[in-house]
Every structure is written in structure tokens, then in C-alpha cells.
């Protein structure tokens, strides 16, 4: 597949930090790349550099095989949408959506038709005559996406579109993004902090830390096989303990010998796993004392005090122990990753 957007060895400044450094990736037509990373990792700067609002200090941005690195934003064929939808407050919904068409001097009839098509595609035809100040958050998001589609961009750059949204609205925006992908299949890059959004939407996930794109791959790969401890922490590997690998897939720990993935290495290091990397069971290999039970919508975790430190394990609602109970548990080797000490 020919990439719609191709970023090659890109570097750009941001704030007082070192800035983006040696970023390379590509996204194809209709593909959706989610960028994950802690605050200050440079995700927004990367989007703005691709969009043309931040000047790259080195490297290239190519859109549809055209080098756009030195071009202004309006000549890039990439639409950048801010974290919260920014509509033109003096224009109605119809006029907002028509804006990119008017800029391109599309004739009146075609413009009207296209606006109607887009409002229908985004399932908001009833909003046509409304002013932005009268719209709800979800409606604004849809108008903003309809307007972006009116520009018929090669690349769509969405900066934290789910930030600060309640769960209902979040699903609404996810659905709107799916409509966009179905409607005009732009290469889409979405910045988010949320693992659920990333897992649900992404064709691929890229993880940014300190201005670098540290890992990129399909969601299963990135979410289950993080390539570093920092990424593992970021994608939900909350349990961590010290260990020493024997080079045969086993590690020695304070609770005994444990089989792990990536255990080909030898020497000291760290084992990390998610809450679903172990299970409370009556005939488990390891023992611990329950010190806390945390209930969240759809999940419950039990915190155990063990010889390797405190560990959090997912549990079932119907078989919950009580704080203070001594319990046994097992660890699933395929969920445990060993990171050798550097």
C-alpha cells in the first residue's frame, strides 16, 4: 500500500525540551494510527509539524508522495483538528461545513449538495441552520468532522478528540471517526491517552516518549509486547518486581522460580505484567495476603502483599476474598515480560 503520509527522520522543537527527534512512520489510505504517550511526549507537536504549524528542523513530511515539509498548512492537504472542536462562531453549521468548499471556490450548487451529503453522512442534517453556540459537545464534534471531510483531506490529524468527554459522548465521537474512515478513508492519526480508545480504533499504535517514537505496531503487539519498561508502564503493566533470568525462560525471584516471556536473556532485570497476568486460585504456586480490593465498572482487582512486593491481580466478582486473607495465586508465563537491566 502506498502511504498517504510518510514522516521521515523528523525533528522539531517544542517548548524548552529537546523536541521531536528522528521520528519516522507512514500511514496508508483509510488506515488509523493512534499515538499514545505521556503528557509532554511531543504527540501534539508531531501532529502540528505534520499539519505545518510547527516548523521541522530536519527530516521530511510527504503527503501523497509530495514533499510538503516546507509548505504552509493550507497547502498540505492535511486537516488538523484541535482537542476540543473549534467551530467558527460567526457562521452557521451549514456555513462552517461549507467553509473549505468556499475557500476552494466550489460552485454554489455543488457546495450545497456536498454540505447536505456530509451532514447526512455524519447523521446531523437537522443541525444545518443552527449556530455553533447552540450545539452540544457531541454535535460540535460531528460538525467539526463534517467540515474536515468537506476539505477532502489526504490526512486527518485528530488531537485528543476524546479528552474530557463522558463515556456516552466518547462512543459518539468514536462512531463519528468510524464514519469518517468509511466515508472518505483519509490516512488518520489520532492522539489519545486512553488505552481503550487506542485498542478500539487503531489499526496501529505508536508510542511516544520524550519526543521519540519508541514503538509502533498493531494494537495486540504494542499492548501485549511493549518493547521497554516505560512503554509497558504506559500500556498498563502495573505489576513489577526484580528478578534474575537464567537464559532458559526462567527467572529467579523472591517468591521462587517463575517462567516468563523474553527470558532468553541472562542476569538481573525486571518482570512486568498486567493485572490479568496472574490469577487467584486454590492450588496456586505462590502465596500472598490480600491488602485491598478495588472495584471499578466492569472489573475488580485484588492487591496482594507478596515476597516480591505488592501485586495487583484481576479477580472475579463472585469469588472475592476479604482483606487480610492468605491466598494462593498463579502467574501466566505468556503475560509476563522480562526486561534485562540495562
Amino acid at each position: 500500500m502506498t502511504p498517504r503520509v510518510e514522516v521521515e527522520s523528523l525533528a522539531a522543537p517544542f517548548g524548552k525540551s529537546a523536541g521531536l527527534s528522528d521520528i519516522s512512520f507512514s500511514v496508508g489510505a483509510g488506515e488509523l494510527l493512534v499515538l499514545l504517550g505521556p503528557s509532554g511526549a511531543g504527540k501534539t507537536t508531531l501532529l502540528k509539524t505534520v499539519a505545518g504549524f510547527v516548523t521541522a528542523t530536519s527530516g521530511h513530511v510527504r503527503i501523497a508522495e509530495r514533499d510538503v515539509t516546507g509548505l504552509p498548512p493550507e497547502k498540505r492537504d492535511a486537516v488538523y483538528l484541535h482537542q476540543s472542536p473549534v467551530l467558527f462562531p460567526h457562521l452557521s453549521v451549514t456555513e462552517n461545513v461549507a467553509f473549505p468548499l468556499r475557500v476552494r471556490r466550489v460552485d454554489d450548487n455543488r457546495r450545497r449538495e456536498r454540505v447536505a451529503e456530509l451532514l447526512a453522512a455524519m447523521q446531523i442534517p437537522e443541525l444545518a441552520g443552527r449556530m455553533p453556540r447552540t450545539l452540544s459537545g457531541g454535535q460540535r464534534n460531528r460538525v467539526s468532522l463534517a467540515r474536515a471531510l468537506a476539505a477532502d483531506p489526504m490526512v486527518l490529524l485528530l488531537d485528543e478528540p476524546f479528552s474530557g468527554l463522558d463515556p456516552g459522548l466518547r462512543e459518539d465521537v468514536r462512531e463519528a471517526i468510524r464514519i469518517v474512515q468509511r466515508t472518505s478513508a483519509p490516512a488518520t492519526v489520532v492522539v489519545t491517552h486512553d488505552l481503550d480508545d487506542a485498542a478500539v480504533l487503531a489499526d496501529r499504535i505508536g508510542v511516544m516518549i520524550n519526543g521519540r517514537l519508541c514503538q509502533i505496531g498493531n494494537p495486540r503487539e504494542v499492548l501485549t509486547r511493549p518493547s521497554s519498561q516505560e512503554i509497558a508502564t504506559l500500556v498498563g503493566f502495573t505489576n513489577t518486581f526484580a528478578a534474575r533470568a537464567d537464559g532458559e525462560g526462567n527467572v529467579e525471584t523472591a517468591i521462587g522460580k517463575v517462567r516468563v516471556s523474553g527470558g532468553e536473556a541472562t542476569g538481573p532485570g525486571t518482570v512486568m505484567f498486567r493485572t490479568d497476568g496472574g490469577r487467584l486460585t486454590r492450588d496456586g504456586e505462590f502465596r500472598g495476603r490480600v491488602i485491598a480490593i478495588t472495584t471499578r465498572p466492569g472489573s475488580v482487582t485484588v492487591t496482594l502483599h507478596t515476597a516480591v512486593g505488592d501485586l495487583e491481580l484481576a479477580a472475579e466478582y463472585l469469588r472475592l476474598p476479604s482483606p487480610g486473607d492468605e491466598v494462593e495465586f498463579t502467574l501466566h508465563p505468556e503475560h509476563l515480560i522480562f526486561f534485562p537491566a540495562s
Partner: protein, 264 residues
């Protein structure tokens, strides 16, 4: 508490009205009154003689027209230049922005007389002393100071993301300015125009210094009539001097755009 608050509010309102309207009403009575002596509260005879004299006095009419031109041109220049400087200054990073703001504030803070003495040097060297253009430039320096300070404030709370969004959607900087930034600042532009107009309209020291007596505005005419003891004509000219500001304020207040700062 409520019952005592109402009369005190009414008293306050009355005092405010008296404070603002009394000087204007004195001008009205004086311009239409024939004889107005103590202890009478109002003139004993009424006449339109002063107004007829004003209409027949070509010098005064010329001064009125000069003032109108000067004020309109100053207002126009001040709103456009102030808008552009304010827009650009708001994008300058701190602390450089503070220097720019301080520089914009100088013509506002400096007394017009002091400013006029400084400006006179440049205007005379440019051969514009005693000309309408020279006076207009001098008025504009002060007015642009005011409007720049005003627009720096306006752009400090302006959401520049709307401009980025427009650019990203394919609009050039010029189209973004015409279709987004300017429409969103309709009200501020009108207010700046009014501000610039009023700065020029009532300007005496700069007109006298730079105009060197060759440029006579309504405001300088009022001064001449007062000095000459022609109280009735001074009242007519003073009343005319007060009117445009009041009218323009009413127009701007009631009819200019619904939008102030772009944030959705």
C-alpha cells in the same frame, strides 16, 4: 435593607445624570438663550441667533468639516493599524511582548503637549507643518497608541485556534483574515474607530502645535471663541463638539455585531 437600597440607588443615578448632563444642558441653554443672568435658573429670552450666526459663518463650518475629516481618517487609520499591531504583538513571545505593549502605551501615557513638541520636530522636517496631513499624522500617533493597547487586550483573549483551523482547512492567511479574524472582531473594530475618532475630534494641543494656526478644527475654534468672549458661539461649537461622540456611542452600542471574541 431592600427598601433603603432603592432610594439610595435612585439618588446615585440622579447624581450621575446631573454630573454628565449638566455641562451639556448648560451648552444647550447658552446656545439658545439670549439673556441668562443670576438668579434665573434658565435663560429669560430664547433665540436661535447664535445658531444662525454659526450657519452663516463659513469659518466655523470649515472647521467642522476639517474636524470631521480628521476624526474619520484618524479613526480609520487607528482601527486598522491598531488591529494589525495588536494581532501581531499578541503572537510575540513573552518577555518581548511586554516591551511591545510598553511601547504601544507611550503615546497614551505621554501628555499630548509633550508628544506634540516631539512630533513637531519630525513633522516640520517632513515639510508637513501647518498641513492637514501633518495634523492627521499627529492625531493618528496618539489614537494608534490607544487602539493598539485596546487590541492587544482583545487579542490576548482571542482564541487563535480558529485561525489555525481555517488555515488547516485550506484558507490562505489573507482569506483567514477576511473570513474569520475580521468578522470576529467587528465590534472591536467599530469601537476602535470610535475611540480614534474621539481622540482626534477633541484634540486641541496637537492641532495647535502641528497645525500652526493654519489648520482650524472645531475644538480649536471653541478655544478661540472662549478666549474672544463669544460665549454663545462657543456654546454652539461646544455642543457640536459633544454631539458626534454621543451619537456614535449610541450607534456602536446598539447595532454592531453580536460576536466579540471567538471561542466555541
Amino acid at each position: 435593607m431592600r427598601t433603603s437600597a432603592v432610594p439610595s440607588r435612585s439618588l446615585l443615578l440622579l447624581a450621575l445624570l446631573a454630573w454628565t448632563l449638566l455641562p451639556i444642558s448648560v451648552l444647550v441653554f447658552s446656545s439658545f438663550g439670549d439673556s441668562w443672568f443670576y438668579p434665573h435658573l434658565l435663560p429669560t429670552n430664547w433665540t436661535t441667533a447664535a445658531w444662525r450666526e454659526f450657519v452663516s459663518d463659513r469659518r466655523l463650518l470649515r472647521a467642522l468639516l476639517t474636524s470631521l475629516w480628521l476624526a474619520l481618517l484618524t479613526g480609520g487609520a487607528a482601527s486598522i493599524v491598531g488591529f494589525e499591531i495588536g494581532r501581531r504583538v499578541s503572537r510575540i513571545p513573552v518577555p518581548l511582548r511586554y516591551f511591545a505593549m510598553a511601547a504601544a502605551f507611550v503615546p497614551v501615557a505621554a501628555p499630548p503637549l509633550a508628544l506634540g513638541i516631539g512630533l513637531q520636530y519630525f513633522v516640520l522636517r517632513a515639510g508637513l507643518g501647518g498641513t492637514l496631513i501633518g495634523v492627521w499624522l499627529a492625531h493618528s500617533v496618539v489614537a494608534i497608541g490607544y487602539t493598539t493597547v485596546y487590541f492587544i487586550g482583545a487579542f490576548a483573549v482571542f482564541d487563535h485556534r480558529v485561525e489555525e483551523e481555517a488555515r488547516s482547512l485550506g484558507a490562505s492567511p489573507l482569506v483567514t483574515l477576511a473570513r474569520v479574524t475580521l468578522p470576529l472582531h467587528q465590534r472591536q473594530l467599530a469601537e476602535a474607530l470610535l475611540l480614534g475618532f474621539l481622540v482626534s475630534w477633541a484634540q486641541v494641543p496637537l492641532t495647535l502645535l502641528i497645525g500652526q494656526g493654519a489648520v482650524e478644527s472645531l475644538a480649536t475654534s471653541v478655544m478661540s471663541y472662549v478666549h474672544a468672549g463669544q460665549d454663545h458661539l462657543a456654546s454652539v461649537a461646544g455642543l457640536l463638539l459633544a454631539l458626534p461622540g454621543l451619537v456614535l456611542m449610541g450607534v456602536v452600542g446598539s447595532s454592531i455585531g453580536r460576536f466579540t471574541v471567538a471561542t466555541v
